[in-house]
Amino acid sequence: MSAGQTQQPIRCLVAKVGLDGHDRGAHVIARAFRDAGFEVVYSGLHRSPDEVVQAAVQEDVDVLGISILSGAHNTLVPKILEGLDEYDALDDTLVLVGGIVPDKDKDELKEQGVSAIFGPGASMEDTIEFVRENAPER
């Protein structure tokens, strides 16, 4: 018999990677996710791809949201994806990117394993809805 109710909130890591020092957006999304009933781990500023991978693996998150404004997404995001893959964690982690990503880069990131990219003006409701619908079944 399995006792108690099965409780399974969606777990997210909100990560800031690289040199950009602006995390207001990451704070806003962390708070919105919390209010949506998610469990949110925030990485803090200036993380390397390795650190983000370590956090995502240890925390066993369903969703990894990478916030990046510096323009370095083409170098940093693939490193994170590779790292996740090394730990066999890429397949069942929903990877999102938020911030400034030019249209021409979006398709490539998606091909590499990013599920969605939310730029300026993306609504919080849409983002949360997307996570609810696409968070991997565990």
């Binding site: 018999m1 399995s2 006792a3 108690g4 109710q5 099965t6 409780q7 399974q8 909130p9 777990r11 962390a30 708070r31 996710f33 919390r34 209010d35 949506a36 009933g37 998610f38 469990e39 949110v40 781990v41 925030y42 990485s43 803090g44 993380r47 390397s48 390795d50 650190e51 370590q54 956090a55 693996v57 240890q58 925390e59 066993d60 730990y87 066999d88 964690a89 565990r138």
Partner: protein, 372 residues
Amino acid sequence: MSDLLERLLDGDHRALARTITNIENRAPGYRDLVSGLYEHAGTAEVIGITGSPGAGKSTLVDKMAETYRDRGETVGIIAIDPSSPFTGGAVLGDRIRMASNVGDMDVFFRSMSARGSLGGVSIATADAVKALDAFGKDRIIVETVGAGQNEIDIVKTADTVCVLVQPGSGDDVQMLKAGILEIADVFVVNKADLDGADRTVQELREMLDLRGNAGSGRNDQHASHGHHAEAEPAGDGADGHAGQTDGAALKQAEAEPGDDGGSDAVWTPPIVEAVATHGEGVDAFLDAIDDHHAHLDATGEAAAKARERYAEEIRTLLREDTAALLTEEIDARGGIDDLVDGVVAGETDPYGIADDVLDPVAACLRERREDG
């Protein structure tokens, strides 16, 4: 599931992470998984850290982990943060302060949310500790905000309970209040470079004195421990001094086995001063934890604690299981709303309903017991 256990025992970090997730979620089959952990666990030393928000717990834990790693030991950390009572959501923010150990997979840091369920968190924590233990971690640190009974239950899963106090955290009546101060095996006055640190140490010592006098004639022993406890922040040339008194305390503990029930066997919590942000006092703190561990071994308290913990685990599991059983029964009777309707209409009352629901269970159990 057993595949997961195998991978965990093989040292697969992702399997360890998933095991803890299954424990937290009470995923189907998690019980078999935890059962399987028991025979591989039991070697790790478990340290509980609690204290009010902002006392510097995460920073101190970070430095502890760094020091243990320098000594070649592996570390597991579980940090518990509160969850919203309204949405169940949580921001788990302690990981941010683990700056010294980033990139080092041999420090396994896991954030857990309290998920609002009474009792449930503490058993999930105990199970997660078991997973880290079976994985092979040498030291396991459980960190939680000391705000209520729940947190006290959590740190009770530790061999050594450390309470962080910061200067200026209240007048001396705060020290008299029941709660987290009573469960401390080691006190840390963190931010010892702030004004008022001396006073906080003084107040803690007075509180411990009162507690000591309430017991019986172990003042001598207390005095020596009190002295030992005055570990100055490192950098004052205090190392030699601290080392010397440590040795004395250890010898004292070793001289005591078999003296069971004797007043000398009572542990008086040392008070360590620290400035965690600079790593000051961390060595003295870890020494105090080791002293306590030696004391537990020497007095046989370690075994007693383990028994107590098993008893508590059994009780908690049974409470949870009966609660689930009764939830099922309530549903079978048309749901809690129907029962409430009866109370609102004045036909019955909560006590009557509780008797109604439970009487058949009690009768059935008694019958089976008598039948043997």
